[in-house]
Symmetry: C2
Subunit: 155 residues, 2 copies
Amino acid sequence: MEHSLEFLGCTIRNLSEDDFRKGFNELMTVLDTEAQLDEEGFIEYCSNIRKMPDEYMHIVAEETLSGRIVASASVMIERKYLRTGGKVGHLEDLIVNPSFRKQGLGKKILDILITRAREKGCYKVIISAVHDSSEYFEKNGFKKKGLNMKILLTQ
Amino acid sequence: MEHSLEFLGCTIRNLSEDDFRKGFNELMTVLDTEAQLDEEGFIEYCSNIRKMPDEYMHIVAEETLSGRIVASASVMIERKYLRTGGKVGHLEDLIVNPSFRKQGLGKKILDILITRAREKGCYKVIISAVHDSSEYFEKNGFKKKGLNMKILLTQ
């Protein structure tokens, strides 16, 4: 998706440095109320992922009228040795502003990211579904495949 | 781990171009019996991950006496916006030659990768545990956290 796409009064496009001032951080606090990045950190994040277009895709939906960011998701692409050097898309942090839910915006973002992952050669896209989100992803074509596990690291 | 480390008659070190001729592919077929990479593809894989030392770590264990690769695992590091620009290590494809299991080699490799992920600033390491491996990872300090889900992509 080099170009933007209009959907339900929103522009869906790649994340941009301006989005911090368009409420990106406020949207993120729905997923994580803890400390977020400041604008400088956000711009560094944008810059880092832009340097790796074959590894990261991050898209957002901006409500056209208000100019506010109302949805966001990213895919990181893993290069494997297995599967003949296969690529796997890791879908991360899909979030839709609660006022914009149940209208297909999340599904649209999923579809766009899955299409882009396919174009980049991924043979699958995986997600770690927490917060009772598995039903949502099942409705959107994902199938359960094992457990996700984690170990927290102290610095 | 810039240097190698000796453990139970094995040298644990970063993946190297020579490893294709040391049985790396044969080890991988334990996880995936389908088509693997040829030597050229393997060298390209090595080259790609070496270009991204902040994103990929791939280590192997070589049995010192036989010069054969008997274990392998990798971690890919994801840069998040959340968690104040936090980093997450994705542990992938831990595999130990069946003849070398139950001696602590897998745990040693896990420990090395987790230590390196911490050094690179990760606040957690996650895995997708399939093939009844969750008990193994629980014994090694991982906790269950949601489901893994996938969608297969047709090209």
